[in-house]
Amino acid sequence: MRRLQSTLFLIALALGALGVVCPHETEAADEKAPIKIGAYASLTGSEATWGQSYERGTRLAIDELNAAGGVLGRPLKLLIEDNRSRPGESATSVRKLISRDKVVAVLGEVSSGRSLEAATVCQQMRVPMISNGSNPKVTEVGDYIFRVAYIDPFQGTVMAQFAREHLKIDRVALLTDNANAYAVGLGKFFKERFLADGGVVAIEKHYNSNERDFKAQLTAIKASGVEGLFVPGYYTEVGLIVQQARQLGFDAPIFGGDGWASPQLLAQAGESLRDTYYCDNFSMETDSPLVQRFIVKYRERFHEDPDSIAPLAYDAVAMLADAIGRAGSTGAAKIRTALAETQAFVGVSGNLSLDAQRNPQKRAFVVGFKEGRYRLEKTVKP
C-alpha cells in the first residue's frame, strides 16, 4: 500500500512536471495568425485591485482594436500572466511569455518594483516592454523598455509647485508609505522641489501599506502646525488617512499623486475630501471625443468610472498597436524602433511623445475636490 501510494505521488509529480515542460500549443507562423501580446499583472494577492484594473483597461483596448480589424490585418491575442503580487514571480511570468508563448511584446506593470524585475528580463531577451510604473529607474534598464505614464520627478515637481504657488504653503508635512517604492520615490522628488522652491518640510512620518490606523502619525503631524500635508500613497490608505485627519481636527489641505485616483476614494472618504488635491495622468473632464468615448465604453462594460490605471493600460495597448502598424512587422527590433519614434501619439491619457529616455512627455492634471467631485484645477505641461 505504501509503495502504491508513493508510486502514485511520483507519477503525479511527473505529470505535473510534464505539464510545465511541454508547450501548451504549437501554432504555425501564419500570415493570418493572431499577433500575441503578453502582459503580466498582479491579478491576485495584496495588490490585486490594481492588477485587475490594469487587466480591464488592457482587455478593453484589445477588444476594440480587434473589432476594428486588428493590426496589420491580424487580430491581437492577449496572454496575461498573474504574478500574485509577489516579487520574483514577474520575472518567471515574463520568461514564460517570451520563450514559451513567443509574444512580440510585453505589457506591464503598475508597480515600478515589479516592472524593474520584468524589465531586466525583457531587456536581456530583447523584447519590447511598455510599463505603467512611474519610477525613473524602470526605463533606465535599457533601450527595449518604454513607458506610458509620466515619471515621478515630473509629478513631484508639479505637486510641489502647486503647493507653493497655488495653495501658498510654506510649511508642509510628508506622510509616506515606506513599503511602497512609488510613494517613497514620489515623496523624495516632491521634497527636493519643495525645498528648492524655498519651502520647509516640518515633519516626515511613515506608514506601511495595508495599515489602517494612522492616528498616531496624524496626531504628531497636527501638533507640528503645518499648513499642508503631502501623502504620495495609494487610494486604499489615503481614503482612511484623510478621514482620520479630518476627524482629528486637521483641516489644512492634503494632496498627493496619481495613486489617489480611483472612484473608490470618493466612496470611502466622501466629504472628508474637502480641500484635497492630487495629480493625475488622466482627467474625466478632458474635452476630447476620444476620451469621452473611452469613458462611455468603460462604463458600459465595467459599470463604474475608470480610475487612473485602466486608461494608462488602454494607452499602452494603443501605443503598441500604433508602433506595430508603423513598423509593418512583428519583429522585436522593428517594433522597438517604431516605439522609440513615437511622437504626438494621442491616447486617452493625453498626448504622448516619447523622449530620448523612452518616457512620455505629457500633461499632468491637478484636480481638487469641489461639490462632491474632483474637478480639474490646473493642467501642467511638461
Binding site: G16, V20, R86, G88, S99, E117, T120, N178, A179, N180
Partner: protein
C-alpha cells in the same frame, strides 16, 4: 547513501554538463528548474533546524534576505574593481560569484548565530514567534537601507547564476546536511529533537547542537539567497517576508520533518504546482490551497514519511 563524496562530484559534473547546453533550453524551463533548485536548498537547510533538531523556526526568509543583499552588494559594489575594466574572464567572474555567495552565506550564518543564541531559552511557539520577529526585523532594516535599494529593491547584479551553480550548491547542501545528520556527531541533533532533557542528562551539549543547526541552516539559506538574487536580477524586501518563510516551512512539513528525500520532493512539488496551474490563473491559488488541505488530510504524517511511529511530540 554509499560513497557520498563520489555522488557529490558526479552531481556537480552533471550540472556543469547541463549548463553547457543551457542556450538550447527554453528560458522558462530553466527559470523553473533554477527555482526548484533554490527551493530545495532552502527546504533542506530549514529541515536541519525544524526537522532534525526540532526547533520551530519561522524566520528562514530573513537569512535568505541577508544572503541575497550581501552577495549582491559584493558583486555590484566590489565586483567592478575586482574584475577590472573588461569585465573579467569566466574564471574571475566565477571566482567573484563564489566569493559573493560565500560572503552572503557567512553573513547569514552570523545572523543565524545572533538569532540562535537568544532563542535557546524558548520552546515551541515562543521560538516560532521570536524567529518570525527576527525575520521581519531583517526585512524592515533592508527596506530602509538606501544604498541597498530601499523599498524599490536592488537591481544591477550580474546574471551569474546558472544551472551548474544552482545544482552544484544543491548537491553541496544535501551533502553537508546529510553528512552532518548521519554521522555520529549528528545523532545529537535527533537526540535534541526527541527529548532535550534526556540528551542533556546523557551529556550531550544541546546548546551547541541547536546553535550549529541554526548557523548551518542560515548559511545555506544565505547561499540560496545569493543564487536567487543573481538569477532574478532584482530583489525586493517584500519578497523575504513571513509569507516566504511560511512557504518554506510548508515544504518541510509536507515532506515529513526530518526526511531529507521527502523534503526535496516536497520542494519540487510545491515549486512546480503554481507553474503547472498557470492555465487556470484565477483559481490557481484556490486550487493550491485546497491541495494543501487535501494532501494533509490524506497523509497526515507527511507526504513521504514511511516510518511507523510519530516524529512530532
Amino acid at each position: 547513501m554509499p560513497r557520498p563524496h563520489l555522488a557529490l562530484l558526479l552531481a556537480i559534473a552533471a550540472s556543469i554538463a547541463v549548463t553547457s547546453f543551457a542556450g538550447d533550453i527554453d528560458a522558462y524551463l530553466l527559470d523553473v528548474a533554477m527555482g526548484i533548485g533554490i527551493n530545495i536548498i532552502l527546504a533542506v537547510s530549514l529541515n536541519l533546524v525544524n526537522g532534525h533538531t526540532g526547533q520551530f523556526s519561522l524566520g528562514h526568509a530573513g537569512f535568505m534576505a541577508v544572503g541575497a543583499y550581501l552577495s549582491s552588494a559584493v558583486t555590484i559594489y566590489l565586483g567592478p574593481s575586482f574584475l577590472g575594466l573588461d569585465g573579467g574572464t569566466i574564471w574571475t567572474q566565477g571566482g567573484l560569484f563564489a566569493a559573493a555567495l560565500f560572503a552572503g552565506g557567512t553573513c547569514a550564518a552570523f545572523a543565524g548565530l545572533l538569532i540562535g543564541l537568544p532563542s535557546l531559552r524558548l520552546k515551541g511557539d515562543y521560538l516560532a514567534l521570536v524567529t518570525l520577529g527576527f525575520g521581519e526585523i531583517i526585512r524592515v532594516i533592508f527596506q530602509n537601507v538606501e544604498f541597498l535599494g530601499g523599498a524599490l529593491g536592488l537591481i544591477g547584479m550580474p546574471a551569474y547564476t546558472t544551472f551548474a551553480w544552482t545544482y552544484g550548491c544543491v548537491a553541496l547542501t544535501i551533502f553537508v546536511v546529510g553528512c552532518l545528520v548521519n554521522c555520529t556527531y549528528g545523532c545529537g541533533f535527533r537526540a535534541t529533537h526527541d527529548d532535550d532533557i534526556a540528551a542533556e542528562a546523557i551529556g550531550l551539549d544541546t546548546v551547541r547542537y541547536k546553535i550549529v543547526a541554526f548557523v548551518t541552516g542560515a548559511f545555506f539559506a544565505g547561499i540560496a539567497g545569493g543564487l536567487f538574487a543573481h538569477f532574478k536580477l532584482a530583489i525586493d524586501p517584500r519578497g523575504f517576508d513571513f509569507t516566504r518563510s511560511i512557504e518554506i516551512v510548508v515544504m518541510v512539513i509536507l515532506g515529513g520533518m526530518g526526511n531529507t528525500v521527502g523534503v526535496i520532493l516536497a520542494a519540487v512539488l510545491l515549486t512546480i504546482l503554481p507553474e503547472a496551474l498557470r492555465p487556470v490563473a484565477e483559481y490557481r491559488m484556490i486550487i493550491y490551497s485546497l491541495l494543501l488541505i487535501v494532501l494533509m488530510l490524506v497523509r497526515p504524517q507527511g507526504l513521504f514519511t514511511f516510518r511507523f511511529g510519530k516524529i512530532g511530540p
